[in-house]
């Protein structure tokens, strides 16, 4: 009980949400055009590594974020080209992309930084913490909402932006159309392949931000496989949020809280293994709450 009243728990919840939410928003865009993007995990990992590398190369944290976005954007284009251009099975390509990301990042970790496992440079600056002027002064809540990396705020703003884009703009409308009935959209001269490319690219960019938040926002280091399944958790968040950006935001809130709780609980007497497993158990439990209709239809189990 005392634990749940701890303000810092909620503060770190917001911080932990950001990567999941950013990746999940990428997942939403892909899902809306009919692409089940299993590669989120690898894209995020690429972003995390590129952010550290960018910071190392340019010595500027913002150029580092840009570099992360570019690198995972390029990775996502591989995914897009194989699934859209060459009609490869998107799940297989997604899995392969995750391999590529983990292979490339460990290879480059060795090649660029000459270390194994993880890289940490005490001299390297992470993302700044923004203190929001007025909000920060609100008693109680202020400490939770203020003092995060800009990417945390970006993640939440983007959720609203995406909601607006999908349901209010012409381009968003056409994206929805391309996902709902590709043949129909094509017969109207809507270039659905182009829309799909953009969607996958957008997910790459968002995963780049997610990765940057992981390696520069929360800690300033890169560890092999540091995404630790967050890309898959983001996939579940997409399903749980029914492909609605704001719904996904709520789902991410839940998973971010679990992530934060699992870290927070480590100070207690429980074996760390249990607290570490908590987010995955809760994610699995969350899957009981909804039906993945596309999955059911595909296996002939829709009533």
């Amino acid at each position: 009980m005392e634990l749940l009243l701890d303000v810092s728990l909620y503060g770190s919840t917001l911080r932990m949400i950001a990567p999941i939410l950013l990746a999940a928003l990428g997942g939403v865009i892909c899902a809306r055009v009919g692409i089940f993007n299993v590669g989120l995990e690898g894209l995020m990992l690429t972003g995390a590594f590129a952010a550290i590398t960018g910071n190392h190369l340019f010595g500027d944290v913002w150029l580092a974020v840009l570099f992360a976005v570019i690198c995972s954007g390029l990775m996502s284009l591989i995914l897009a080209w194989l699934t859209i251009g060459l009609n490869a099975n998107m799940i297989v390509v997604g899995v392969a992309l995750n391999f590529l990301a983990s292979g490339l990042t460990t290879y480059c970790l060795s090649a660029i930084f000459h270390v194994k496992g993880s890289y940490y440079d005490p001299g390297m600056a992470g993302l700044p913490k923004w203190d929001i002027p007025l909000v920060g002064d609100i008693p109680g809540v202020g400490g939770i909402l203020s003092g995060h990396s800009p990417l945390v705020y970006v993640a939440f703003v983007l959720a609203f932006v995406l909601q607006f884009f999908l349901f209010k703009t012409v381009k968003g409308f056409r994206l929805l159309a391309a996902g709902e009935h590709p043949e129909g959209a094509r017969s109207l001269g809507i270039r659905i392949d182009r829309i799909r490319y953009w969607a996958v690219l957008a997910s790459g960019v968002l995963c780049g931000l997610a990765g940057a938040q992981l390696s520069l926002g929360q800690v300033t280091q890169f560890t092999e496989g540091m995404t630790a399944g967050r890309g898959f958790i983001a996939l579940v968040a997409v399903m749980l949020g029914q492909n609605h950006p704001l719904g996904v935001m709520l789902a991410s809130l839940l998973f971010g809280f679990m992530d934060a709780l699992s870290i927070r609980l480590q100070g207690y007497a429980l074996p760390t293994q249990f607290t570490m497993a908590l987010p995955y158990v809760m994610t699995l439990a969350a899957m009981f709450l909804f039906k993945d209709r596309a999955y059911l239809r595909q296996t002939g189990r829709i009533d």
């Binding site: 392969a96 290879y107 074996p271 995955y280 994610t283």
Partner: protein
Amino acid sequence: MRRLADSLRGLVHPLAALAAGLAAGAVAVIVVGGSVGETYAEMWKGAFGSFYYLTNTLARSTPIMLIGLGVALAFRAGFFNLGAEGQLLFGALAAAVAALYLPAPPALAMIAALVAGIIAGGAWSLLAGWLDVRFRLNLLVSTLLLNYIAIYVCSYFVSFPLKDTSGSAAINQTNMIDRAVWLPKLFKGMSVHAGFVLAAAAAVLLFLVLRHTVAGYHLRMHGSNPLFALYGGVRRGRLMAWTMLASGGFAGLAGAVEVLGTQYRYIDNALTAPGYAWSGIMAALLANSHPLGTAAAALLLAALQTGGMGVERNTEVPLEIASVIQAAIILFISARFTRALLKRRKARAADGTAA
């Protein structure tokens, strides 16, 4: 004659992907300033350069092959079982526990340990299948999440109740298994053990089952079009239960032979760090889930990995070059360039004439 031509044509694509993967690897080598020729020469030596290295490669391919076969089985049935890692760990842990604590004569204890591995891996896999059939959880996602849970649960067991407290406290591991229970080595002083024979036999067995049995036929049809199988009287739930059980069983067996043949105890992280599970999945993907092809692909991947170690020993290029090559091969394979292009042309033709 035609069948021969067909299977040769089937080889064109994997070979092209292999070449493309090696080309991608060459780029990676050049980027870090290494010599491509030297790197690949060292890689070859590291994998096949001597009888010792060859047997090393065979030993490494053993768990990859078994896992790959299990994954291939599930993929052929249309079930995206990506939970090999968790299944592997539970199999290994159960085998270690059985080998350590079962009061039985050594030979029997060894067999019991292998069986325990199969059952534990199968049960963990079956859990995901049951969640799918009973509660309609997406198998792909649930198996991925169960991996993480398995990693932590097994880590807990070996860190607390089963921990070897006699030796150094730095490593979380079980006690050493009695030497009499170990899997016999195939050659004295070499690392390859009887598990490799088991894996090779399993590949042939799986090939025959898929091709020549009624169950294999139903499984293949379900993988190709689940609705067609349903319509023809295949029961999805039952098929899924048996397939997942067997698929996880293979992974569990992989864990068991690794414990009984190579490590002789369960060591935390010792099975996840080399990425056996994911290599197995890659092998299945590489061979398009054909059992014999999966076995061959497992050998290839193992050779790349042991070769990568050779590269790291003797050059400036890090051993992860192997991971880069592997991933590139998989990407090229998944694209099925030639087939994708052919198919598109055909699909267009079919559209027109069906109208």
